[in-house]
């Protein structure tokens, strides 16, 4: 079976209006830049997006928000995006804010075939409203269900033709979790290599989870907070 896509346009060709997408990344770190650009270009609408953040105004998922392609956003932190805040407060955008660990674990639950998980995050807060609470060993937990997504779109450092992926440093974040969690997974990689070039012992996402893979181009890798120190004497 050939998992190779020619480019981002090719990789996303089966995504249609109204679907649910998971997008990897934390802030702008490890986001699938090529696929986001292709989604913007294609103008797919009414999307539900699951991603830890919503990009910034002019990059990442922010680009899709500008084009009003997103109907609903499921995220944990969106503080970097004024257009997002505007659409939310005006009611144009439906938003579900959930704890970051809950977001991660609901992805993992989907990937691991677990229909729901228990987490203490959000007990006693508005996150718990309408949710089942259960006590184990004297401590309260919320029942949170596994995500259901049509596509996961992830960004990796290296990948091979079998779909095996490795990520670089903290660009890993939600990517391997989302890669496991959707019906179909699209991976864009900085470097596509032949099978056998990646050490089987250090694969972060086994190829079984990835259906489409391609080598991306022109990564901008924008930094949100460029913090540095002076060279020590």
């Amino acid at each position: 079976m050939n998992k190779l896509s020619k480019n981002a346009d090719d990789a996303i060709k089966n995504i249609t209006d109204g679907q649910t997408l998971m997008l990897g990344g934390f802030g702008l770190c490890g986001i699938p830049e090529n696929c986001i650009a292709a989604l913007v270009k294609k103008g797919i609408k009414n999307l539900t997006c699951i991603s830890n953040n919503a990009g910034v105004d002019d990059f990442g998922i922010g680009l899709m928000l500008q084009k009003k392609q997103v109907k609903k956003m499921i995220a944990s932190y969106v503080g970097e995006n004024m257009e997002f805040e505007r659409q939310l407060l005006s009611g144009e955008l439906e938003v579900e804010l959930i704890p970051q660990g809950t977001l991660a674990t609901r992805c993992m639950a989907a990937g691991y075939g677990m229909p729901a998980i228990f987490t203490p995050a959000g007990v006693g807060t508005e996150v718990a409203e309408g949710k089942e609470i259960r006590t184990f060993d004297g401590k309260e937990y919320l029942l949170e269900t596994a995500f259901e997504a049509d596509f996961a779109i992830v960004k990796a450092w290296k990948g091979d033709r079998s779909g095996n992926l490795i990520y670089k440093d903290t660009a890993r974040n939600f990517n391997p979790l989302m890669a496991m969690a959707a019906k179909t997974t699209i991976a864009e990689v900085e470097e596509l290599v032949e099978d056998g070039e990646l050490d089987p012992n250090f694969i972060h996402t086994p190829g079984i989870f990835v259906q489409h893979i391609f080598q991306g181009t022109g990564y901008e890798k924008r930094i949100e907070q460029r913090t540095v120190r002076k060279v020590a004497n």
């Binding site: 934390f26 407060l89 991660a104 987490t119 807060t125 974040n173 939600f174 391997p176 890798k221 930094i223």
Partner: protein
């Protein structure tokens, strides 16, 4: 004299013990890393997937793929490890983090904390804060005692949407170190030259005062 934010961080650093794994939130908590006592080794966790967070990179060596939970460019250290977000919050939920320091907009006398939302005004999201406060055994809040408009941030009960219930163990403000006990706020230390009366006036709940209240020593 009230502490500045660096001194708040410095006081909190006194709570560190050798071998601690520590999660520092954004803002004043981040500054705690600058005051780790000599001889004490702590490992900083960044919940986006790193244990062993190092200092900011030397200029020119920033790597977009290596950031902390505040989206700042950082470095690793010998002994660091990288992992995905599920494992990151796994270690948080299972109680492996010995100390969590975070900021707050309000803290109540039973240890509730509010720091993620002002209805109709500010919508940023809770990020990892709800997971952290629901899981950590040892939570210290670092904040100013009052809001910019002078309102007490220490309350009988929080008015803002909660981040977590009954979770804060200690508060370090510009004026005082306060422990959350079963009976409410217990004043442990006061900033040099700040009177108990002033602290009580700026706290919208009764303070428990037992014996002499020493000044914060830095």
């Amino acid at each position: 004299m009230a502490l500045n934010k660096f001194q708040i961080a410095q006081r909190i650093a006194q709570e560190l013990q050798d071998g601690f794994y520590v999660n520092l939130g954004i803002g004043i908590p981040t500054l705690v890393a600058n005051y780790i006592p000599i001889g004490i080794n702590v490992v900083l966790q960044s919940e986006n997937g790193l244990l062993g967070m190092g200092p900011f990179p030397i200029e020119g060596e920033e790597d977009a793929d290596l950031i902390n939970a505040g989206k700042q460019t950082i470095t690793t250290l010998p002994g660091s490890s990288i992992f995905d977000s599920a494992m990151s919050f796994g270690m948080i939920r299972s109680g492996k983090i010995n100390l969590t320091v975070l900021g707050a907009m309000e803290v109540s006398e039973n240890g509730d904390i509010a720091n993620w939302k002002i209805p109709g005004k500010m919508v940023k999201g809770m990020g990892g804060a709800m997971d952290l406060v629901a899981s950590a055994k040892n939570i210290i809040v670092a904040m100013m005692h009052t809001s910019p408009s002078g309102e007490s941030k220490l309350l009988k009960s929080c008015s803002l949407p909660l981040t977590g219930k009954n979770c804060v163990k200690k508060i370090v403000t510009d004026l005082a170190v306060i422990e959350i006990t079963a009976h409410g706020f217990k004043l442990l230390e006061r900033a040099a030259g700040v009177t108990i009366q002033e602290i009580q006036e700026k706290t919208k709940a009764d303070l428990i005062i037992e014996g002499e209240i020493p000044e914060i020593s830095l």
